[in-house]
Symmetry: C2
Subunit: 129 residues, 2 copies
DNA sequence: TTTATAATTCGTCATATAACGAAATATAGC
DNA sequence: GCTATATTTCGTTATATGACGAATTATAAA
């Protein structure tokens, strides 16, 4: 007999909602090979930085992604170790499902181009409009 | 080299969207022990039958659930065998995550009461308001 | 064929969500 | 301290979604 309050339900809904958006899935999959800063994700997905920031916040709240401030830059990464088992399983599912997807492949290709640009130059370009 | 068009992305988004709703997760988990007809799900979740019908349709489109007409009744069940691997993995994830959840447990308990009532009586009650 | 009824579809409303640009915040470098 | 700048927060707008009841559809029984 246990009094343990099993609250996986809220967690699962939060995770599923976080995954239920094309932009967030693409952003999540961009992190497959390592951390990225916001402006790099912005450059690949071609959306406003405020929009991407909100999306990353939702992914963080679901425990799928960690965001660490390194100087002026935020480094977003998959939350492998320190996340809930539910989040880790969800990451496995998404990664297994989308690893070979075409859209994700195109995004990764564009990421390679973006990685060739200095991050500083990238952000300056984005903020000068 | 392959020309195979890998379209998992749309599939994954559809599945994640299907899972991103409390009512749908509860309905999905109600099917853990076997098929149910619409009016039974309606009785447990206490929502309008049109609402539940829409939810089940979304779960079906995502490949998570099958609906078979048996006479006047629809029998909804997990789509174990004939679904996409993505859907099956998603089902595994959700089932593993929510199997011991409190909310899901309460729903199952109520399902036991509902299963004690004849389906015919159940539906008549629902349609006479 | 007519009637009853389980489920679905349709029309409507209220709420939630995603997008943007502008303003605010926080950190690095001077 | 001040200035530049990467990111976040805020306010707004358009679209998506979930709920309901009424109308429709499809099947069983009479």
């Amino acid at each position: 007999m246990t009094n343990y309050k099993n609250n996986n339900f809220k967690t699962a809904v939060t995770i599923a909602k976080a995954l239920a958006d094309e932009t967030r899935l693409r952003a999540l999959m961009l992190l497959a090979d390592g951390p990225l800063c916001l402006c790099q994700i912005v450059e690949v997905l071609r959306l406003a930085s405020s929009t991407i920031s909100k999306h990353m916040s939702i992914l963080q709240q679901a425990g799928l992604v960690t965001g660490r401030k390194k100087g002026r830059w935020m480094h977003f990464a998959w939350s492998d170790g320190d996340s809930s088992p539910e989040a880790r399983q969800a990451l496995d599912w998404i990664n297994g499902t989308l690893r070979n997807d075409d859209q994700i492949g195109r995004d990764r290709q564009r990421l390679q181009e973006v990685l060739a640009i200095e991050p500083e130059q990238l952000c300056r370009k984005q903020n000068q409009n």
